[in-house]
Symmetry: C2
Subunit: 436 residues, 2 copies
């Protein structure tokens, strides 16, 4: 590789930080079905949600404003790691011998190692502003727990994290990270809540699931004074906070002099994919030709194998019922290493866009995903999170299609996080112990 | 913290990448004593070093050129993560209530997580250019092993890594990272070499040391065809490659409109500190008032407790003898978590500058160092490597002195790497299990 190519990456200066998030709700092709109360099955009122979230986030959840200003205090914390770089993957292109151009947005640069702080920081900020002193949450792979621990430390809020047991055991370092930022961690199902105790009674060896951990966190929040709950994905306001990713990527693609033909992201609850996709989806809704591919794990195929219907967000059926692609709120996926992709449902906005035909979805088993992760590590250097490797696998497949067709498409994917805390999974892969 | 402060960091665009390294040798206040042959004790000739290193690195080792061009091919790989950011630590300043301004250069952003790729990349490049097919090396904390594995993968060279046993056991994820980038790893002392077997005979439970692992790697390199050896610190060319750190930092401090009063770095073999310090040392040698503080671990106090004399670079006494601060080549430090600070000697150039009074040195035990690491994680977000936390501890102490004196000094330190692969040590600290 000679010095003639380049730039390899575009890094925006702090002076070009985004000052607003993009809210896609007013631009959706059909209205978003409202969330329903889990008991009455009537549309949720702001009062229904008030025990869980601060009022500003409830407002954002249903806002019809296209752009919502990012508070100065949130921008100040974003500046720890934002704007994040956009890379051109020259070496991966060369390895694949493809005429496609591959770009990736690197959200691994946050202190927590993923895109999750993009919403953790504003969530902690709005809670603090409304006088909340403690938050309870769940975490799957541990990335959300880390992100919220970091954010709560910065805004002076206590945090209790219910961590899906299989991740708690596979990823002890994630737990230590969360504790380093001052939060408390419990393996879920735990004996801290009625929801957890009920599961443990039936199956003491339950590996846990996000749906289960959500039930525990919600119960903990509503039974403790001045506490709220926080969710790291799925909800409209979470997806909106993540659009800072796509807004930056758009500005960076412009500096490369390019625009993506395909936008790819992995999907667990849908937040990182929403983040990179929605600012470009705005263009598609205005008539521009862009393709979107949501990539999920074969072991938790919500978009490719689920039903588009109203379902509970959590296993104990205490969270609001939302219209989404779902495998059913009692679905417990196998313990794959991409713990962040093990949620039974999907963000309602993302689900709507897939259902209306604006986005495609594919699913991959974990062995070819780790193969893609290895190729990426050995060409682009960075070791990706197993979740993000799903997007890499899809980008590679799209680039290989271009090799067949001779097309020079621009492929953009979101590298939602690094895999440095997932080396156990890489070790298992290298030892030949991974199965699909 | 309001939005009025800032910028929080300065990130240079790729177009402002450094194109040369700074070689301090011609600017040293007294001539550097030459390395001696381990058997004859005569000054080493290039031929003596030829079995170990490619000729271009041997030339750089004794070069009198003040600036040496960074090859395009090396710059291309540097661009994966360079230029690295320079942060102003506003939140840490606020926590310390100090009038000092604290700046840190963030070398954790490389795929390997430390400053080590800055020299691994050119070393692999020059080896490749001269037809070398395999390299053997040692690694302490594992950061050098990761960096060289990454670099060798990019230039198509086989790599064998002898990893100090205590790190091999404490940091299994580092081993997996090295393997992810395609290299082979052996716990040292190993049964792969005469040097390793000799140690194991005397002490089968030896925790290993850098000096021991160096002996193994050197033996492996010289006994295998078309193989060379590579060292991640100490040598002149290694320190020179690292000056890309200080050269960038200087340009970034200028964009902040500032110049450091104090420059701080942790010291194992001395490469990261040389990297940030030498470009500013050039100014001091020309009369500017700058203070330099090298920070080491109390358990391996080479600069603060060693002798300035000729000593062997490795335990088996097969590497060249160099003039340096040393604890003796048989010194085996206790197994602290900052594995990268466990070398018995120091870079000859750094040693000379300390001996001549141009640099100060301090040593800290590991518990207060982890306390500093916790404060940094909870104010600046990023979790530092235990090695880098030594520099943080010193920066904090300097900032506290400013609080006493009321001086508003500019304190610059090198954050040589992140601690994400060191969470075991953080876990031990949080559990109250660390001892000094």
């Amino acid at each position: 590789m000679s010095g003639k190519v380049g730039p390899f990456k575009v890094v925006l200066p702090e002076s070009e930080m985004q000052t607003s998030w993009y809210n896609i709700i007013p631009d959706l092709p059909v209205p978003l079905p409202p969330p329903l109360h889990p008991v009455t099955r009537e549309p949720c009122t702001p009062e229904d949600l008030a025990p869980l979230f601060p009022m500003e986030l409830i407002k954002q959840e249903v806002s019809q404003e296209r752009y919502i200003e990012i508070p100065e205090e949130v921008q100040d914390v974003y500046r720890l790691y934002r704007p994040s770089p956009l890379h051109r993957a020259y070496r991966l292109e060369k390895e694949l011998d493809t005429p496609a151009k591959i770009f990736y947005k690197d959200e691994s640069v946050s202190p927590a190692g993923s895109h999750k702080p993009n919403t953790a920081i504003p969530q902690a900020y709005y809670n603090k502003k409304e006088g909340v002193t403690g938050i309870a949450t769940e975490t799957g792979a541990g990335q959300w727990g880390c992100a919220l621990a970091l954010a709560c430390k910065f805004f002076g809020i206590d945090l209790h994290v219910f961590m899906v047991k299989v991740s708690f055991e596979q990823k002890p370092y994630r737990r230590t990270m969360i504790e380093t930022w001052g939060a408390q961690v419990f393996a879920s199902p735990s004996d801290m809540t009625n929801a957890g105790r009920a599961v443990l009674e039936q199956d003491p060896d339950s590996p846990g699931s996000l749906g289960m951990a959500i039930s525990e966190a919600v119960e903990y929040a509503v039974t403790h004074e001045n506490h709220k709950y926080a969710l790291g994905s799925v909800l409209n306001h979470v997806c909106m906070h993540q659009t800072v990713v796509g807004l930056e990527a758009k500005a960076q693609m412009e500096k490369f002099g390019e625009y993506p033909d395909v936008v790819i992201g992995c999907v667990g609850g849908g937040s990182n994919f929403s983040g990179i996709a929605f600012p470009f989806m705005k263009d598609k809704l205005e008539g521009r030709d862009v393709r979107f591919i949501a990539v999920e794990a074969t072991s938790c195929p919500t978009l490719t194998g689920g039903k588009y219907e109203y379902d509970y967000g959590d296993q104990a059926q205490t969270a609001p019922i939302v219209m989404m692609y779902t495998l059913g709120c009692n679905f417990v996926p196998s313990p794959i290493h991409a713990g962040g992709l093990r949620y039974h449902g999907d963000a309602p906005i993302l689900s709507l866009l897939v259902h209306e035909g604006y986005m495609d979805a594919v699913a991959y088993p974990q062995v070819p995903v780790f193969e893609a992760a290895m190729m990426f590590s050995r060409t682009e250097g960075m070791i990706p999170a197993p979740e993000s490797a799903h997007a890499i696998k899809c980008a590679i497949d799209e680039a290989l299609k271009c090799r067949e067709s001779g097309e020079s498409k621009n492929i953009l994917f979101n590298l939602s996080g690094h895999g440095l805390l997932d080396m156990y999974g890489y070790g298992e892969y290298l030892a030949g112990n991974l199965r699909d």
